[in-house]
């Protein structure tokens, strides 16, 4: 993928990500909502599980999988995780969805990296992306490991009742 298209796409997606988090943070803040009732499932009593989906978010969940099946998808809870990190609560973030950590990292690092490349006329991010794609293509073991992590997290999401 060309440098220009890649940078434009990632900047657009980062903007969407930031906008989404900011929107949720602002809306939740102004409403002053209570965490509300917590629910769970056998083995994971309510006191150790997550806020019900509707409590901290303003809109019903945007996840198409959840809308279709009622079960959480592997990334359900990531927005709440990011909001928790913004509030300075990494434990809560990990409980919502550990994917919040790489997501936060990506939202912070990628736009900065791309802007740095654009200002200095470099292509560090573009080359790093190329190397990552090459590794994923040539060593299926890596892609399978990622898939395994995603599926395990998914199972945890379902158990937690995210």
């Amino acid at each position: 993928m060309s440098r220009r298209s890649l940078y434009a796409l990632v900047l657009l997606l980062s903007a969407a990500g930031w906008g989404w988090v900011a929107f949720n943070a602002a809306a939740a803040g102004s409403d002053g909502m209570d965490p509300g009732a917590r629910h769970g499932s056998p083995g994971f009593p309510a006191s150790r599980t997550m806020d019900a989906p509707s409590d901290r978010l303003v809109l019903p969940s945007p996840c198409p999988f959840r809308l279709a099946t009622g079960l959480p998808c592997p990334s359900c809870g990531t927005t709440r995780s990011l909001l928790a990190l913004a509030d300075g609560d990494p434990a809560d973030a990990a409980r919502s969805n550990p994917f919040g950590f790489p997501a936060a990292l990506a939202l912070l690092v990628l736009p900065a990296w791309i802007l740095h490349d654009l200002l200095r006329g470099g292509d560090g991010f573009h080359r790093a992306y190329g190397r990552t794609e090459a590794v994923l293509r040539q060593r299926p073991a890596v892609a399978l490991a990622v898939a395994a992590v995603v599926i395990v997290n998914w199972g945890w999401n379902i158990l937690k009742g995210v």
């Binding site: 993928m1 060309s2 198409p64 998808c73 994923l136 995603v150």
Partner: protein
């Protein structure tokens, strides 16, 4: 490669590439030797129209990106639920061009 075979290839796969690339591709194919003809078939080119359909139907799961070999982006798209829907829509417009780009790259690998 003889002209008949080249023309047959272009008739079948012309839409898989950007229009402006076709003259260049035709010239390279004519210079290519016969033994590479088999490799051409194995180049694993993807039909942009099929990719677009996959994008419309399963775009929020990133299946379109996986299909054309953009595995990393596919995983990212999957994990962000189609980039919060934004990416899903953006890809409806980008994916055909990207597929043609990928096809051109795969064809280059056959030429060398």
């Amino acid at each position: 490669m003889d002209q008949q075979k080249v023309d047959m290839f272009l008739m079948n796969f012309g839409k898989y590439f950007e229009g402006y690339q076709l003259t260049q591709i035709r010239d390279r194919l004519l210079q290519l030797d016969e033994s590479k003809f088999v490799m051409l078939q194995a180049a694993n080119l993807k039909d942009p129209t099929i990719t677009l359909i996959i994008s419309i139907v399963g775009g929020s799961l990133g299946i379109d990106r996986f299909f054309i070999g953009d595995t990393g982006l596919g995983i990212a798209k999957l994990l962000t639920c189609g980039g919060l829907g934004v990416w899903t829509i953006v890809d409806w417009f980008l994916i055909m061009g990207r597929t043609r780009e990928v096809n051109a790259q795969r064809l280059q690998q056959v030429f060398f």
